[in-house]
Each structure stands twice: as C-alpha cells, then as structure tokens.
C-alpha cells in the first residue's frame, strides 16, 4: 500500500508502575511520552442509595483534571472512559455494589484519552476486578498531506487534519470504541483502523509483560 511508506509506526515510550497507592484496591501510573495519568480503582464497594442497581454493579467514573473544576472536555473524556469500562467489566457479578474508577491527569501533552484507557485496563487488572475482556487503545493523527502519525503528541495535534482514537478488545481483537475528530474519507478511516489495530496488539503484549513482572516481584 502506498500509505504505509509515509507512516510513523513507532509509539512514544510507555512507562508504568502498578500498585503504588495504598488506599485504592488497584492503582497504576502510566506515562506515554510526556503524557501521564494515574488511575485508581475502588471496588466492589458500598453503593450510594440513589445509584443502586439490583442486577449489577454500578460503575462510577471520575476524571480529575490537574487544575480547576472539570470542564466540558474533561466530561467528554470521562464519558468515553465510562462507556469502555462499563462494557468490559463483568458487573453482573457484583449486584448492589459499586465499582469506582478515578482517573487523575498528571500531565497532558496530547493523547491523554488512549493513555487513560490503557491505564484503566491495567488498574482493573491490578485491582483484580472481573472483566469480560481486556481492552487497549491506540490513537493516530492525519496531517494535511495525508500522512498518518501513530500516537501523536500535542504539537502534532495542533496542526493535524484529523485524529482517531480506537479501542480494541483482547479476545477477537474487535473494535469496541471509536472516537474521531476532523475531516477524512472512508479509506483513510480504514487505514487508520488497521494502523491502530497493530499498535493495540503491542499494548496487549505490554500488559502481559507488566503483569508478569509485577507477579514476579510479589513472590
């Protein structure tokens, strides 16, 4: 394919640290390039009376920006994360309880949504919460000349024509969420999807090695 020659296939460096907080049941710090988030999980815990569901656990997601009150952009990010986590959690196992997911922005240098989605998955693994499948997210940007750039940072996103965020599940490697902005055509969407799918596979491997390392450290 002609597109592939112009593709930047490398992701920014990913660092992570599991279980560094004592209060939450599961916690993780992930930095993807300069973007960094902390995710903490409480759950299943006591549910607030007005949020109680009798057939499954209610999933609460809080996205906390570093400064100021949560704005509209933060609420959008929160709702994307909420939908992905709610789909993946086996919440029917915990009726009349609540699973709380808190995302704390540490540094936003572009691509905070995919970074936070990956952090959520690792934190849920760290907390030992039951899930139907794992999920991994990758993003890519499209510049004016039609070149793709995997895992774009804030400098690229300022001038990008379009940006794509995809979330995949671990079982069938199927698409579970897609979030796009900007203008693009169908072919470009398809190639962005292919590109991110490849990157997501790398992230699933990263999960595996991280959890393996964590378990080894504990013994």
């Amino acid at each position: 394919m002609e597109v592939e020659s112009n593709v930047n296939l490398s992701m920014r460096e990913v660092n992570c640290k599991l279980g560094m907080f004592t209060r939450p049941d599961g916690s993780v710090f992930i930095s993807q390039g300069e973007t960094a988030v902390i995710v903490g999980i409480y759950g299943p815990i006591e549910v607030k009376p007005h949020k109680i569901l009798i057939n499954k656990a209610s999933v609460e997601t809080h996205y906390c920006p570093k400064s100021g009150m949560p704005g509209i952009a933060d609420k959008l990010c929160e709702s994307i994360l909420h939908n992905v986590c709610e789909a993946a959690l086996a919440s029917a196992l915990y009726p009349r309880s609540s699973i709380v997911i808190i995302i704390q922005e540490m540094q936003n240098c572009g691509g905070i949504i995919p970074c936070a989605i990956n952090a959520c998955c690792l934190a849920l693994l760290n907390a030992g919460t039951d899930m139907k499948f794992l999920f991994a997210s990758a993003s890519c940007g499209l510049d004016d000349e039609g070149n793709f750039h995997l895992d774009p940072d804030d400098l690229f996103l300022e001038t990008a024509a379009a940006s794509f965020i995809f979330v995949f599940d671990s079982i069938g490697k199927g698409l579970i969420a897609s979030h796009t902005s900007g203008s693009f055509n169908l072919a470009q969407y398809q190639s962005a999807l292919e590109l991110c799918k490849k990157a997501a596979e790398g992230i699933f491997d990263f999960y595996k090695s991280t959890i393996k390392k964590d378990l080894k450290d504990k013994i």
Partner: protein, 362 residues
C-alpha cells in the same frame, strides 16, 4: 450518610495503639518525634509538584490568569488555594463537594501561606485597579495515609516556588501576554517559606507524636498544627480536638517544629535548585520517582511491623530494667551516659568514636 464508606477505627485498634504508646512504640517503628520519608518531584509544566510523605501522596498545580483586583486591595494580586479531596485519596472523599476536612485544610493553608504574606502580592499587579495576576493553587489529595496537611503545605510551597508566570508588557491601553517561548517566564517573589507541621496529642497532651499516620490521627485526642518558617517565626497555630495542653508543652513542640521547618525548607530549596539545573541542561525528566523507584511490595505493612514488634519489645524490656526512662550507653572505661528516650528536636545523639578513643587512652 455521614459515615458512608468511611474507615472506622475499632476499639481494639485504639487500645492497641495506646498500649503501645505506653511502651514508647509506634506501629511503624518510628520514634515519637520522627517524621516519615519525604520526596518532592516536579512535572514538566511550571508549578506542578508531586509530594509523597510516607505513603501520603499529594499533587499541586499552580495556574494563573489576569483578573480585576479586589476593590479592597487595588494594587495586589490574588492568591486562592483550593484543596480538592480527590476520590482517589480515600473512598469516602467526593470531588466537588465541600466537606469539613476540606474547609479546615483550606483555611489552615490560607492562614499559613496567604495571611502570613509569604507571597509578594504587590509584584503580581499589572495595572492598578485594572489588571492583576490571580494565582490559583489546586491541591489534589491522591492517597490519604495521615498527615495530609504537612504534605499539602509542602506541595503548595514547592509548587508556588517552582511556578513561573508569563511575562507581560503594557503598550498604552493594551496588555500583551508573552508566551513561554517568546520571553523568559518570571518567578514569583516569596519572602519566606512557612510550612505546616502536625503533632498528634494523646493522653491529655502528655504524649506527643510527630507526623501521625491515618490510624494515629483517628485515635488521637487532639492535633496541634504549627505553621513555621525557616526563620523560626510562627505563622499559624491550630489546636483541634479535645485535649488539655499546658503552654510549656506547646512551646516545646514549637521549638521542635522550628527545627523541622528549617530542615524542610532547605530540602525544598535543594530540590528546586536541582530541577533548575536539569532544565538549564535541557533535560526535563518529569515524575522521576515513578520511573526509577522500586515497585512497592504489597506486603501488608502492619503484619511486617508486628513481626518485628515482639522482638523489639523484649529488647526494650530488658533495657528498661536498668533505668526507668532511658537507656544506658557505656562511654569507655568506668563511665556511662544516660540517654533519654525522647530528646528535643535534634536527632538522637550518640557518644562519638573520638571520645571513646581518648577515654580508653587515658
């Protein structure tokens, strides 16, 4: 609803902690006036500071914008401190809702830093009666393991000292804000560095613990919070709870706290200097502690300390047979020194090796 999701402290835990205090033991093996380990970290952005004190974690971020000054103070900038009890910190914290703890913390930090005029507010003025800089410090509590206030005050101060505001130039009626890339950013003028230091009081103020953990905070009768700067000037004094305390004890605590404050301020200044040097060299390593620190083992710390506890107790008991309230340290031939169990502020001293040698020579 008040106790919703909150951790309650059982009577057994209370009794156990108080019994241990009688034996001069704390659950984590610290001395009564010993503080937990402190580490300060900066992010890539100006004024972003991550502080960990023991297992308590706090993130502070300074942001600024141009506003109209308050009508009562036309030539002064605005500083607002906003403590956010992030639900990450503990499961009963709720974001965006005012709780008692949040209001108390906010007020004490304001008293300590704002009312003590630590930050030069007049330098934040751009045009009298029209435009001033308004600083907002957001303090996010990430992990609540006791002594939030000390941790938050260190984060607040370090973040304020780290922050640089963009340069502005006035052109007649117009004010131009230059971006960080265009012109060098300006530091905030800080006259003095006040930090909060918390002591927990037990048994009607007779037992004083420095840097209480979450459990100790819950059991304590009262807490004494002192805001002190490096010149040993008291900026805040807050006695909460229901303990009687005589003035002598408060003065004793104050002198201990003054010593600790000067240590803290030096620590903050060294960390800031290191960060400056790194930035001059062009390497910005944000949140280093995460990338390089060893993973914390999820071994239950309480059980770990309890294992050690039985051993330590026996040792202390045998020592206690010799003297009632101290340990005897031999000092060469035929001489000994009685070391008190608690000493004032300074680290516990031991006879130096030189002295030993000269003694044995004579």
């Amino acid at each position: 609803m008040a106790k919703f999701r909150e951790n309650l402290i059982t009577n057994c835990e209370k009794k156990f902690i108080i019994k241990n205090l009688e034996d001069h033991t704390r659950l984590d093996g610290r001395a009564f006036d010993e503080f937990r380990e402190l580490s300060i970290d900066f992010g890539r952005d100006w004024g972003c500071c991550y502080v960990s004190l023991g297992k308590t974690r706090v993130l502070a971020q300074v942001s600024c914008e141009i506003q109209r000054p308050k009508s009562s103070r036309l030539s002064e900038g605005i500083l607002s401190i906003n403590v956010e009890l992030n639900p990450l910190g503990a499961s009963h914290f709720e974001s965006g809702r005012n709780s008692e703890l949040q209001v108390v913390m906010n007020r004490i930090l304001e008293k300590c830093v704002k009312d003590s005029r630590a930050v030069d507010m007049e330098s934040l003025c751009i045009k009298i009666n029209e435009k001033v800089w308004a600083f907002r410090v957001d303090i996010n509590i990430l992990n609540h393991e006791g002594n939030l206030l000390d941790c938050a005050s260190i984060a607040l101060l370090a973040a304020l000292a780290h922050f640089r505001r963009p340069d502005v130039s006035c052109d007649g009626e117009e004010t131009i804000v230059h971006s960080y890339a265009e012109r060098d950013a300006i530091r905030t003028v800080i006259h003095h560095y006040p930090v909060c230091i918390t002591y927990a009081l037990f048994k009607e103020g007779t037992v004083v613990l420095a840097d209480p953990t979450l459990l100790e905070e819950g059991v304590a009768d009262a807490s004494l919070i002192l805001g002190i700067n490096s010149y040993k000037e008291v900026c805040t004094l807050h006695l909460g709870g229901k303990a009687l305390m005589d003035p002598e004890n408060i003065l004793k605590c104050t002198s201990k706290a003054a010593h600790r404050a000067s240590l803290l301020v030096t620590e903050i200044k060294t960390v800031l200097k290191q960060d400056d040097e790194r930035r001059v060299q062009g390497q910005i390593n944000s949140f280093q502690s995460f990338k390089h620190a060893q993973g914390t083992k999820s071994l239950d710390t309480l059980t770990k300390y309890l294992d050690q506890w039985s051993v330590q107790k026996r040792k202390r008991d045998s020592k206690r047979k010799n003297t009632e309230n101290g340990t005897v340290q031999p000092l060469g031939k035929g001489s000994a020194v009685l070391l008190p169990v608690e000493d004032d502020g300074a680290k516990s001293w031991k006879p130096s090796s030189d002295e030993n040698e000269s003694d044995s020579c004579s």
